[in-house]
Amino acid sequence: MKYADEFRDPVAARGLLAKIEQVTSEIGATAEKPVHIMEICGGHTHAIFRYGLDKLTPPGIEFIHGPGCPVCVLPMSRVDESVEIAEQPGVIFCTFGDAMRVPGTKKSLLQAKADGCDIRMVYSPLDALELARRNPDREVVFFGLGFETTTPSTAFTIQQAAADGLMNFSIFCNHITVPPPIKALLDDPYMTLDGFVGPGHVSMVIGIRPYDFIARDYNKPIVVAGFEPLDLLQSVLMVLEQIRDGRAEVENQYSRVVPDEGNPASIAACDDVYETRERFEWRGLGEIDTSGLKIRDKYAAFDAERKFGIGYGAASRFVKEPEGCRCGDVMTGRIKPPQCPKFGAECLPETPLGALMVSSEGACAAYYQYGGSRLEAAE
């Protein structure tokens, strides 16, 4: 397939792997004393397992799977609130498909749909806006979630709704941003990260400058990466070379897609529509300062939180993780998924207990689906 096969060429991959092997040994990293590289984005986690890159890279490299799966880090209290909105009479609740199965404390949206709520799977917030246009007597709510990748499309949709005066449309805003959790992880005294593979699609929107603090303040290298196997291998090599050379820089491996300055039109739309929340809860990580977005007062009419009287942060809303769930420890690199006693036992992709088993981009789900320890055990 054009423009994808080129980035999956086994010969080129072997060449990169040989260089990775060499630089790893130059650094002196071994299985006992590995370099820890965090891939922040869930898409990267998925690709690493799908192509078996964790097996192909030398044992001196350990991948720590970051918090970059938006469905995984969605707090259960917000799922409960989405169900509450969907249960209101006259509401059509629209969501991306992968949020349907996320368990709340009582039920998932999928169960709410089976119980009679009008919940529609859409592929874009604009589809939800179209539903609002065609159903003027219904209140159409879009479940806005995701990182900077999806944040602009929600912002454009709100601007469009305002321009068209579609007052029966609103957004339940759960958008979050990538840099604050990275900072939180770097401030965690237990974290021993040596470098980062930075998110590709997020950076397409925000550019690479928001990561400057990682190099400047924490002295760690970060390389923004694409999603094909060769992209990832090259990015890992670039991180390793920085470590070997004692550099800490923000580099852009994915320059064919990511401009250094990002996408100005998207950034402007987001500035117009959102302001930063003081803090927002991340499932498995707890509350993180300035990590969430809410809708500005000028667009209050399109804010489902205000329309339905759901404010973020009511103390009674916070929900404890299920007993024994160790997603937080996986996300901060303290343990690998199979070291969690619930992994593969009570916590399975079909009956996820913790956040990381929920979406295919979650570290536990990727680990489970594509083998990891199960393959070793089977052989």
């Binding site: 999956r8 072997r14 192509y51 097996k55 192909l56 592929y123 992709p349 199960r374 089977a378």
Partner: protein, 353 residues
């Protein structure tokens, strides 16, 4: 079977006049009789018009022959799509369920749940398509039923087909028969049906031209069994795709299965759709694709026999059964890394067949 070579003239007097189906067409009266006779039985031409089909076939009387019986419901949305329609997959699906078990399919029933308001012209197209698929597979639709339900109680049209076939004496195709060393062969490209349905639904604004692979596989199965009599088992890779079929076989036989990513036959368009939407083609539904296992010494003969049939032109070896990692399917990726190919969790796509 009765000879009804010219049903058009016989039925002309009762020709259904309505353009759309109403609840009256399910009421048991004249309107229903007109619908059933004009739209369905005049096309399917069952042997007689009793409530039950009375059947005889020489194959049933052979010593050691066994009867095979299967049923399947179809709710695909949309009901017509590139490469087929709900009627064609209702016939092919049931024919293929029989064929992969080693049976020669003979007779089908067809039951229709019709939503009020459906165009009669649509039903006529579906019925003609079913007759054509039945003729291609060499089976007869011998009995059936229609029900009409109110608007919203069904979505346009649901079809259930049951099928009866005969397994000749001595044939034993079953997943438990697979042994380490046996070779896995597929008859053609993967995922066309799932990708075609996805594209035609228009939700994704994809403009690709992919046709469903919907086709009967009984002629192909007979050719394989004749050329490779020790064929162990076959599975049609419908819902859940090749991944699910292979996992079922690994489970039943207690063997491991190894496949090679580089050998999997995929159209560029299907790969493209999967890339864009983040789907795995191993889990996409097929309606005319099967995987079978043969002992290595018969693999060449099986491949050649498959390639000589229209449904098997692109047949290719994709892997083998192994004694490592029992009950687990492992794929060697492009780079030589191995990964587990698990059963599908949840649904990749709803209402695909």
């Amino acid at each position: 079977m009765n000879d009804r070579s010219d049903p058009g003239t016989v039925r002309a007097a009762r020709r259904l006049k309505a353009d759309t189906v109403t609840l009256a067409h399910g009421g048991g009266g004249k309107a229903m009789r007109d619908l059933v006779e004009d739209v369905f039985t005049s096309v399917f031409e069952p042997a007689d018009m009793e409530d039950q089909a009375r059947l005889a076939d020489a194959a049933m009387r052979e010593e050691g022959a066994r009867l095979a019986f299967t049923t399947d419901s179809f709710v695909v949305d949309p009901v017509e799509f590139p490469g087929g329609d709900i009627g064609k997959i209702a016939v092919c699906g049931t024919v293929n369920d029989l064929a992969v078990g080693g049976a020669k399919p003979l007779w089908l029933s067809a039951a229709f749940i019709i939503e009020e308001g459906v165009e009669v012209a649509l039903l006529r197209r579906i019925a003609a398509s079913m007759r054509a698929a039945a003729d291609e597979a060499g089976v007869r639709i011998v009995t059936g039923d229609t029900k009409v339900v109110g608007r919203g109680s069904a979505d346009k049209l649901f079809v259930t087909t049951s099928g009866v076939g005969v397994i000749p004496a001595g044939r034993d195709l079953a997943a438990r028969n697979v042994r380490p060393g046996d070779v896995a062969i597929v008859n053609g490209v993967l995922g066309d049906h799932g990708a075609a349905i996805l594209a035609v639904r228009g939700d994704m604004a994809l403009t690709v031209e992919i046709e469903s692979d919907c086709q009967p596989l009984n002629a192909l199965m007979e050719a394989v069994i004749a050329a490779a009599p020790s064929v162990r088992c076959a599975r049609d890779a419908t819902r859940g795709g090749l991944a699910s079929a292979l996992n079922e076989i690994a489970d039943a036989a207690g063997v491991g299965i190894e496949i090679e990513e580089t050998t999997l036959p995929l159209r560029a368009e299907v790969k493209g759709v999967c890339e864009i939407l983040g789907l795995d083609p191993l889990y996409l539904a097929n309606e005319g694709t099967l995987v079978l296992f043969v002992p290595p010494e018969e693999a060449e003969a099986a491949l050649a026999a498959m390639r000589a049939t229209p449904a098997g032109r692109d047949a290719v070896t994709i892997g083998k059964a192994v004694d490592k990692h029992p009950r687990t399917v492992v794929m060697q990726t492009l780079f030589g890394g191995g990964r587990i190919v698990d059963m599908l969790v949840g649904e990749q796509l709803p209402r695909i067949c």
